[in-house]
């Protein structure tokens, strides 16, 4: 297994390098490039700009610039925000927890609801429930998240008044209940697509497991309820779920950005849009690369966890 881990780890390093190259390319597409902040200064002459270019090393070959930029990234120097001058990593750090909270709650809900639907659909195959679940899953995958959010706000905030319409907490009230109150609707909205994905997966996994020999053995042994059988079935479905969760990270982040916008949730997605509106390119680029790193790391952790837990890989 150590060789597997080493292999997987070096794969991630290669992926991170490629991710950084793509990011560097996009960075240089930004208007004005790294000198954009000075472009608006009326006192700057062309000579000043040339002098700054040389000072910042912008007339060096592109690959040297890339190495310099990447080295600074590794050391933690991600640049400074145009808005308030604080370091980009600090700015991202302020909003990271909110997004992680939203993503985590949403994933937990999606797995819980989706698994129940999927397992029930598999055990009652071809019933009305199964048919509705299958068609419903396909429709859920086609619904724009922001539209679902707007409808959610219309029904649950404007018409029923059950939940607040936005933000993470009400000013003056920082209790856990208040946080939950604000969290529930955005999480549910974000989880829609993933409920569909998990329900489809669980249905297939359950059907696969039910045809296995160990199920026949358990039935022959007289294992009392299908409930206990589900323990075996779900146990086998668990491992690929970890990998699947890692694969879904990019779409989860995409959905989080849109959900945060609709619900004015103070997370990384809203930060991205705000910074885009302010032309705060260091933060924009920082978030772009940060999200990609998050995805790569997430998948790496998922694969490591699977390797550690799966006895077949552990003992090989």
């Amino acid at each position: 297994m150590p060789r597997f881990l080493l292999n997987r780890f070096s794969q991630s390093i290669v992926l991170l390098v490629i991710v950084s190259i793509i990011g560097f390319t996009v960075l240089n597409l930004m208007p004005g490039g790294p000198l954009a902040q000075f472009g608006l200064d009326p006192g700057m002459t062309q000579k000043d700009i040339e002098r700054l270019s040389e000072q910042l090393g912008l007339n060096r070959p592109l690959w040297i610039q890339y190495l310099d930029w990447a080295w600074r990234l590794i050391q933690g120097d991600w640049g400074h925000s145009y808005r308030d001058g604080s370091s980009v990593l600090t700015v991202i750090g302020r909003h990271l927890l909110a997004t992680l909270l939203l993503m985590g709650t949403s994933t937990a809900l999606a797995i819980a609801i989706g698994s129940w639907i999927g397992i029930r659909g598999a055990t009652h195959r071809y019933s009305l429930f199964d048919y509705c679940a299958t068609v419903g899953a396909m429709v859920a995958l086609s619904v724009p998240t922001f539209w679902f959010g707007l409808i959610g706000i219309y029904i649950f905030t404007l018409k029923l008044g059950w939940v607040p319409a936005g933000n993470m907490y009400a000013i003056g009230d920082g209790s856990v209940l208040d946080y939950l109150h604000h969290l529930i609707l955005p999480s549910l909205v974000l989880s829609l697509v993933h409920v569909a994905i998990w329900s489809r997966y669980m249905r297939t996994a359950t059907l696969d497991a039910l045809t296995q020999d160990f199920v026949k053995t358990a039935r022959a042994k007289g294992v009392s309820e299908r409930r206990i059988l589900l323990k075996h079935v779900v146990g086998n479905a668990l491992l690929p779920m970890i990998t699947l969760a890692g694969v879904q990270l990019p779409s989860l982040l995409t959905g989080a950005l849109v959900t945060e916008t609709v619900f004015t949730w103070p997370g990384m997605g809203r930060l991205f849009l705000d910074s885009l509106g302010y032309s705060d390119y260091p933060v924009v680029m920082g978030l772009l690369i940060f999200s990609a790193i998050l995805v790569v790391l997430g998948n790496l952790i998922a694969d490591i966890v699977v390797a550690v837990v799966d006895p077949r890989i552990r003992l090989s």
Binding site: M138, L150, L253
Partner: protein
């Protein structure tokens, strides 16, 4: 004998096994029906409706649906929502379809090259695909859309540039399995050029998964365009798109909810149709998939 031969060798494409498998898929047929109606409505509708999409009538603003002449109601400027919806549909559907064509082209080129060449060329290409896939699509699209001029053509190109990876993966896997088949080895022995083998021998046999991926790509492209137009970085007003209609409807959610509900429903119907069709195509063309 002739009877058996006639059943074994269908003479017309609509008699082929794939088509009969497709037509058994009720959802796929529903998808085709829905999208045909939608496309017809968007193309012909604006001419058939009593109101022009640009006609501003401030006395009739915020009319709810089914009130008087406006079937879907009116928007804050008094423009007929139905007419606007169909004009926006032209833009959204066109952008989605064109983005699919471009992304399928790029993805197929990359996939065929990576799958056939193999070795370190293939590995490098597929690692690049993985690199692009690590970026959440909307982050990349927004960053590019903010710096490049947001014309519909540019939006199409940007969406395509962030959607080609799925197709590349599917094509690469298919080509890799086709590479070892006898007809490819025969072509190599005869001395056909690599380019000929890749695109005239292997590619036609890989069309099945490509078509499935293409249908799902349209669905994703329409959704992505709606997302970025909603956020303000996609199709710019006054050019209507389903996404930016929803952007404008946000502030009137309490007083005029139909402004938000109806364009979103249109997006959902369009994307659902393509997803259904893609599912049906997958059942019809991908023989190895054991459908449970």
């Amino acid at each position: 004998m002739t009877l058996i031969a006639a059943n074994l060798a269908p003479s017309r494409w609509w008699q082929s096994r794939a088509v009969s498998r497709f037509t058994r898929h009720h959802l796929a047929l529903a998808g085709i029906a829905m999208i045909t109606l939608l496309v017809l409505a968007c193309v012909v509708g604006p001419y058939a409706l009593p109101y022009d999409s640009l006609h501003i009538d401030l006395r009739a603003r915020f009319a709810p649906p089914l009130s008087g002449q406006h079937y879907f109601g009116t928007d804050p400027l008094g423009r007929d929502l139905a007419a606007r919806l169909l004009m926006a549909g032209r833009v959204s559907l066109l952008v989605g379809f064109s983005a699919m064509l471009l992304s399928t082209l790029i993805g197929t080129l990359v996939g065929v090259t990576a799958g056939y060449r193999g070795g370190w060329v293939g590995a490098a290409l597929m690692r690049t695909v993985d690199g692009f896939l690590s970026y959440p699509s909307i982050f990349l699209v927004l960053a590019l859309a903010a710096v490049l001029r947001p014309s519909p053509a540019m939006i199409t190109v940007i969406i395509a540039f962030t959607s080609w990876m799925e197709t590349a993966r599917i094509v690469e896997a298919e080509v890799r399995s086709l590479r070892e088949r006898e007809f490819v080895q025969a072509a190599r022995m005869v001395g056909l050029s690599r380019r000929h083998i890749m695109f005239r021998e292997i590619l036609p046999n890989a069309m099945g998964p490509i078509i499935v991926a293409a249908s799902l790509a349209v669905a994703r492209a329409i959704l992505l365009e709606a997302y970025i137009s909603f956020l303000g970085y996609g199709i710019q007003p006054p050019l209507p798109s389903w996404g930016n209609m929803l952007n404008g409807a946000q502030q009137y959610l309490a007083s005029a909810p139909w402004l938000a509900i109806i364009p979103g429903a249109a997006i959902t119907i369009a994307v659902t149709s393509f997803n259904f069709i893609g599912d049906g195509l997958r059942d019809a063309l991908d023989v190895r998939d054991d459908h449970i």
